[in-house]
Amino acid sequence: MLENFSFRTIVEYLPLFGQGFAATLWLSIVSFAGALAVGIILCAMNLQRSRLLQLPAKIYIDAIRATPLLAQLYFLYFGLPRLGVVLPELFVGILALALNSGAYIAEIIRAGILSISRGQVEAGIASGMTYSQRMRLVILPQAIRVTIPPLLGQAIVLVKDSALLSLISVAELTRAGQLLASDRFMPAEGFVTTAACYLVLYYGLKSLAAFSARWLGVRPIGSRT
């Protein structure tokens, strides 16, 4: 398969890959933003004392974590119309990604918040801050530093997961490779190019993570006792 590797065909398909790349990129960005929103809501519910709020969040997170994205995607894609909600594929795909990643992000944020030492919370309490003030002024600013690296890790997972959207006819990066494979019967060319594009996205996110770590690390937190 490799000895006849045709760069010429790849070049010919490059515009298609370009479109796919752009689609994957913006699709991932939108999904990730949605996932952040879902994650924050879930995490906020999960941190409440009231079991009434906590339990649904916990069940949701477990259900998402224990089942494959594919099943979730089809659940939405074929399930929503039965409830009379017919949405465009792209929308369903983004929704599925956001709902899926949101569960993981909720856990990441929760871990970040719980990593803030009890003493910080108590200092806030002792100076008369309300719950929301403590969250806003003391806990979240510190938790964000801890959560950004794992969040970017989750972003990497999300980008790769978005490949599954090709199953419900969303044109993205993986689709471009599949088209090359099925029009021209050149699977090696198709998949190698796809992989290269994903690798570019991966390194982009990774350097973003490194950059943010350095940027946040300007003022290393943690006292010198």
Binding site: P81, F185, M186
Partner: protein, 239 residues
Amino acid sequence: LDDITKRGELRVAVQTQGPPFSMVDAAGKRTGSSVELAELMAKEMGVKITFQDYDWDGLIPALLSGKADLLVADMTPTLARAMKVAFTKPFMHTGSAVFAKSDSKFGTMEACKAKGTKIAVLLGATGEKVAKETFPDAEIKSYKGGGPLLLDAVNNGQADCGVNDVSAVKGQQAAYPAGSFTIMPEVLSKEPLAFATRYDEPDLLIWMNLFLDQVALDGRLQKNLDYWVNSEDWKKDHQ
């Protein structure tokens, strides 16, 4: 071909796209029109047959890398594809048909040609190209995973109508209550279906062509197609 004889085994890559060509029946047994033809081939060669069941992504690499000797699927031999693999003579001709849900307003070709109609096709299949030409104003949605999912998409309203191989559509609508779908009489394109092997196995290609000629002459091919494709007889035995 010598390798196959020596090995005593014919390795066939199939894609399980759904009835009538290749499917897994309720008992978990692999069967279908193409599958039975391949079995016949092995019988004529006097070797065992093993099926390798890939999804679309793995099908072509399996043939190209030599994991499989030949490829049996309802595949259209386009010229672009023939640059990479060697197709046999067509074993049958089929065409793409348009179908829609019976109780919908998309009962005719004209209705489907309206702007913004959502048309479901199979990713990479000929139907995809044909649909683009026939319905320039429509929104084409390509699906992966086989014809039945097109029917499901239309049935669920994700798409208004679908375009796929006519025999596939006929075979696959069996899973629904009779009369769920309207299949339009127009055939959008006439296209052949063929098996494929590699160009570095010319002897196998010659043999396969000969095989197709033979079974066509002695009526075994027609019998197979009549059973699987042109009627719904198979449903009695395999549902």
